[in-house]
Amino acid sequence: MASEDELNLLVIVMDVNPIWWGQQAQRDMSESTECLDAVMVMGNSHMAMTTTNRLAVISSHFQDSHFLYPCKNWTGGDGAWDGTMDEAPYCGDGKYELLSVANNVVAEEMKRVMSTTEMKGNSTDTLLAGSLAKALCCILLQKIVTFFSAGQEMKSRILVIKTAEDCARQYMNFMNVIFAAQKQNILIDACVLDSDSGLLQQACDITGGLYLKIPQKIALAQYLLWVFLPDLEQRPQLVLPPPVHVDYRAACFCHRNLIEIGYVCSVCLSIFCNFSPICTTCETAFKIQLPQMMKSKKKKLKQSI
């Protein structure tokens, strides 16, 4: 059990790529809003566990990453973390006010994000690396604030709910974020709805989090509550899905094939599957000693004569 002094911050990074969600909505009606409901249930449950639990929700879009909760646009004052609201809207079901506030904020912000979606450039990829970086910054800021104001330690983790595919162009940023999280002892959990993501598998493996690919979206809330609600200390005592075997093979730069043994340029560290005398990335020249083949050839000639 976490001690009373410990603060737990859960940052939910939700992939709200409208293209993916729109396609899903066209296939099966009214699924996207249900997923958002499931995420809200997860957030509420987390905050309901102990009073010292905190929540942040970030939406990951192809335009930008946006904090859904806590949010500066909320007109009820900036006491969102503490739950002290001057004019909290009455939601009618006697819920803990913090939860109802959170839900309303998330819903409002989500609507705003979706309504301001415009397809300008060519990029349709979710800016996941950027959202994770924002999450890390938020965690760090909160850590400093709580340490200096209340003298308390803060533990934090990130839960990524991923829908669209990986973007290969974000690889370097992604890896940097992952290593930064590992250094800060921040877990990255991943709940994948559609297709397996190699980057998130690596992230979970490196930081010690859980990776889960869900067979059906309908029961998303159940999966979230079962697997991702317990925090790090409670997980060893539960029987949770085992870690996935991660394929760490690198892809060669010439063909983008996964290889196990290859040649690495010592200057720029780019990986190739065949030896070439000049590295194509940094144009360094290399020499390699070829094995001596001459003698056996001569032997063969002699015998044939």
Partner: protein, 549 residues
């Protein structure tokens, strides 16, 4: 046996053995005796078999030599030549005394070495038990690789340690009073050696005078009587042969001091400026040129201190002189002079280095950052995507995109959170079933913890099997590439060894494990390694046959 292809070292006629006349032959590696008139040897013993030799005491009529073997047997030879029996036997005895130790050491040394290695290393011992005792591999092959490494180690260690000179060797002599006003000094060869090594001048004197002018006893008596040896050394008689040694030492003292000064040269020249009073000079001057106002006691004190310093310096010099040619006495005595000459040559560079060290302060130097080379990438987009495999992107038309966006926008505009009806019970129960042990998402968990299914003795046995297999495979793989007929034979032999190992050790173990502990396949990897070795041998053999054809 009768062929005398070995080198014969000594032949002694008229030696009786078991009451038969014959001839005793001592060869390079064995001793043999043959009866008179016959060509063969009836008795032949290798020197390595002989444990010791015994001779009959001097007074006895029969002059005999007995050889005791390791096995406990003994053969007695009776020297019956009237004139030269005793000398014959002495000759035989001396030769055997020289030869036996050589052979004895060799045989014993190897066995001792092997025993020691087996005792020191339990892993090696276990390996030996597994492989040699169960006849998978022969003992010679087992020791073949190991002995070569230990022999080199032994020779290395032999070279390292030499006994140094005790600093107190002169004091340890400890003369005892002889009763009436005389002193008795006990000189052992060790002390004599120490004296010679420390004071090469004395050795020179010894070489000159003994045995021509003086006997050894006289030389040492004079040595101890001479004032050279005594502490005060104030006056030396002209007749004393050791007065030259004293003078040489004196000279040596001076050169030591000069040496000291030369070493500190650069710094000293600055400090020996005029302003400094004489007493504060670092280099100092030898006591002989000191202020004449010093009292006699101060003189004798400084003389004692000088002698102590000189004594210690000579001992240290003797230790470092060992590597040089010890036979060249002239070079040894001139070594102290040579030092001063060398120091002259080295003076300028040493001075410069000292000056430089005194001037440079690391703190005051400008800090250079680490020298970096800029990375010059021609295709920097590779940096962005990294070694990630190219995945097929789903192709979406722009119309699709527009449709999707409008659809979702529409949906979200009417969104009201309805948290009370997020889940249906059927969906939940299927999700829970998938997450429970044995469910769809929990499949990979059961393959873990094979080491918890198998007890530790079995694991230990498996470790021994791995070590033994590793040893055999190492022998096998070092045969490739096969260059010589010896390696060809060895490769085939190793294959049969591996097969034998598999039959006798691996299969029974595997069956035992399978009988008791379900289907844990813990020997799969071992089998794979053996199979790779067989495949390699097969490939090599077929290639050889193709080449022959």
């Amino acid at each position: 046996m009768a062929s005398l292809s070995e080198e014969v070292l000594l032949v002694l006629k008229k030696v009786r053995q078991r009451k038969q006349d014959g001839t005793l032959y001592l060869m390079a590696e064995r001793i043999a005796w043959g009866p008179e008139g016959k060509d063969r040897f009836t008795v032949s013993h290798l020197y390595s078999d002989i444990r010791c030799q015994k001779i009959s005491p001097d007074g006895k009529a029969k002059i005999q030599l007995q050889l005791v073997l390791h096995t406990g047997e003994s053969s007695t030879f009776h020297f019956s030549n009237d004139s030269s029996a005793l000398t014959d036997r002495e000759a035989a005895k001396d030769l055997l005394q020289q030869l036996l130790p050589k052979f004895k050491k060799k045989a014993n040394k190897e066995l001792e070495e092997k025993n020691r290695m087996l005792q020191e290393d339990p892993v090696l011992f276990q390996l030996y038990k597994d492989l040699v005792v169960s006849q998978v591999i022969s003992a010679e092959e087992f020791w073949a690789n190991r002995m070569s490494t230990t022999n080199t180690e032994n020779t290395l260690s032999d070279k390292k340690q030499d006994v140094g000179i005790s600093a107190a060797f002169l004091a340890d002599i400890r003369p005892q009073t002889d009763g009436c006003n005389g002193l008795r000094y006990n000189l052992t060869p060790d002390i004599i050696e120490s004296i010679f090594r420390t004071y090469p001048a004395v050795q020179q004197k010894y070489g000159e005078n003994v045995p021509h002018n003086l006997t050894e006893k006289e030389f040492w008596t004079r040595f101890f009587q001479s004032h050279y040896f005594h502490r005060d050394r104030i006056s030396t008689g002209a007749l004393d042969i050791f007065s030259e040694c004293a003078k040489q030492d004196e000279k040596g003292n001076v050169t030591h001091l000069e040496l000291y000064r030369y070493i500190r040269s650069g710094v000293l020249n600055v400090l020996t400026a005029e302003g400094l009073p004489k007493e504060k000079k670092i280099g100092g001057k030898p006591a002989s040129t000191s202020n004449p106002n010093r009292t006699g006691k101060e003189n004798s004190n400084s003389a004692i201190i000088k002698r102590f310093n000189h004594h210690s310096a000579m001992i240290l010099a003797a230790g470092s002189r060992r590597g040089d040619a010890p036979n060249d006495q002239a070079s040894e005595t001139s070594s102290t002079d040579g030092n001063s000459r060398d120091s002259d040559l080295f003076q300028p560079p040493i001075k410069k280095v000292k000056l430089q060290e005194a001037i440079d302060y690391l703190d005051l130097q400008r800090e250079d950052g680490p020298k970096t080379v800029a990375l010059n990438l021609k295709k920097s987009d590779r940096y962005a995507h990294g070694p990630v495999p190219l995945e097929s992107q789903k192709y979406t038309t722009s119309q699709d995109i527009i449709n999707s966006i409008t659809c979702i926008r529409h949906e979200m505009a009417n969104y009201v959170p309805n948290l009370a009806q997020v889940l249906t019970s059927s969906a939940v129960s299927s999700a829970i079933a998938a997450l429970s042990p044995g469910g769809v998402l929990m499949q990979t968990g059961t393959q873990q913890a094979i080491n918890q299914m198998v007890p530790s003795e079995v694991q230990g046995e498996l470790k021994h099997l791995y070590i033994a297999a590793g040893e055999l495979l190492r022998h096998f793989w070092t045969c490739f590439p096969v260059n010589s007929p010896f390696l060809e034979e060895k490769v085939v032999k190793m294959r049969s060894n591996l097969e034998r190992f598999q039959m006798t050790k691996l299969r029974p173990f595997q069956e035992k494990v399978q009988r008791q502990y379900l289907s844990a396949n813990i020997t799969g990897h071992l089998e794979e390694m053996l199979q790779t070795a067989y495949n390699k041998l097969h490939a090599w053999q077929t290639r050889r046959m193709m080449r022959k054809i």
